[in-house]
Subunit: 163 residues, 2 copies
C-alpha cells in the first residue's frame, strides 16, 4: 500500500465543523496562541459553510481517519490581474506526521491554484517555526520578507471606523 | 466647502478598468516594482469585474476628478471564525495627497469591515515605506511582525503542483 493510497483529501462539509474546530485549537496551541481561538463549532458552521462563506476547507484522512485540515480562500493580485490562492491554516496531528499528509495537502492546493489560473499560492509562517519554514522552502516557496502585514481589529477598528 | 464634501468614494465598475490600470502602474512605480505589473486593462475587466471575480474595487474622486483607488477582498480567520477585510492596494496620486483622500478610503473600508462583521482589517506594507507606516500606525494598526508570507508562483508553483 503506497502513501498515495493511504492519504485521502476531501472537501469539508458542515458535518466536519466539530472536527475542524478541534484541529484549529490544536494548531493554535502549536503556534503558542491557544488563547487566541475565539471561534466555536457553531461559528464555523456559519462562517465556513453558510451562505455568505467565502473561504473553503479540506479534510485529510490517513487510513480512513481524519488527521489534518486546511482552510483557504482566494486573494487577488493587482500586479498580475488575477486571483491567488491563500492558505490560511494547514495542520496535521503530531501522530500522523512524517507520512506525507502535509505535503499532500500543499500539493492539492498547488494543483487547485494552477487549475483555477491563480498567479500565486501564498501563506504566512511564524518566523520561529523552523521546521515549517524548511518544509515550505523545500517546496520551492520564497519569503516575501520586504513586507509586513498591519492589522486593525477590536476597539481600534471600531474606533477608527466611527471617528 | 469641507473635505468631506470634496471627496467622493464610489464602487468601481468595468468602465473604470483603464483608469484603475493607470493607477496600478503608478502605485507599482512608487513601490519600486513597475516591472512587476503584468496585468492589462483587459485582464482587469475580467478578473475584477467578471463573473468569477472575488475582489472588489473603489474609486476615490476629489472635486469630481478620480485621484485614487483601492482593491480589497475578504479573507478568513480560523481563530475568530469569521471573515476579515484585506486591503490589497490603496493609492492616491501625488498631486491629490494631503487632502484626506487616503484616510477617507481607509475609513470607508474600516466601516465596511465593521458592517460586514469582519474580525480584522489588514493590509501589507513595504518595510521601507516610512510615510505609509506612520499613516497606518496613526490609524491604530499594529504590525504582525512575527509572521512572514511565503509565496510559490511561476515555474516553482507549476513544478510543485505537477511533481
Amino acid at each position: 500500500m503506497t502513501t498515495r493510497q493511504r492519504i485521502h483529501i476531501r472537501t469539508a462539509t458542515v458535518a466536519d465543523a466539530e472536527l475542524i474546530f478541534g484541529l484549529i485549537v490544536e494548531l493554535a496551541r502549536c503556534e503558542r496562541a491557544g488563547h487566541a481561538v475565539k471561534t466555536t463549532p457553531e461559528r464555523l458552521r456559519e462562517s465556513l459553510f453558510g451562505e455568505t462563506a467565502t473561504a473553503h476547507a479540506l479534510v485529510c484522512e490517513l487510513d480512513g481517519k481524519p488527521v489534518g485540515y486546511v482552510v483557504y480562500f482566494f486573494n487577488y493580485s493587482t500586479w498580475l490581474g488575477c486571483n491567488g490562492l491563500y492558505l490560511e491554516d494547514l495542520y496535521v496531528t503530531p501522530e500522523a506526521r512524517g507520512q506525507g499528509a502535509g505535503k499532500a495537502l500543499l500539493k492539492y492546493l498547488a494543483r487547485q491554484a494552477v487549475e483555477k489560473k491563480c498567479g500565486r499560492f501564498e501563506w504566512a509562517v511564524l518566523d520561529w517555526n523552523t521546521p515549517a519554514i524548511e518544509f515550505y522552502r523545500a517546496a520551492g516557496a520564497r519569503p516575501m520578507d520586504e513586507w509586513t502585514v498591519y492589522r486593525l481589529d477590536g476597539q481600534a477598528l471600531r474606533g477608527f471606523a466611527s471617528a
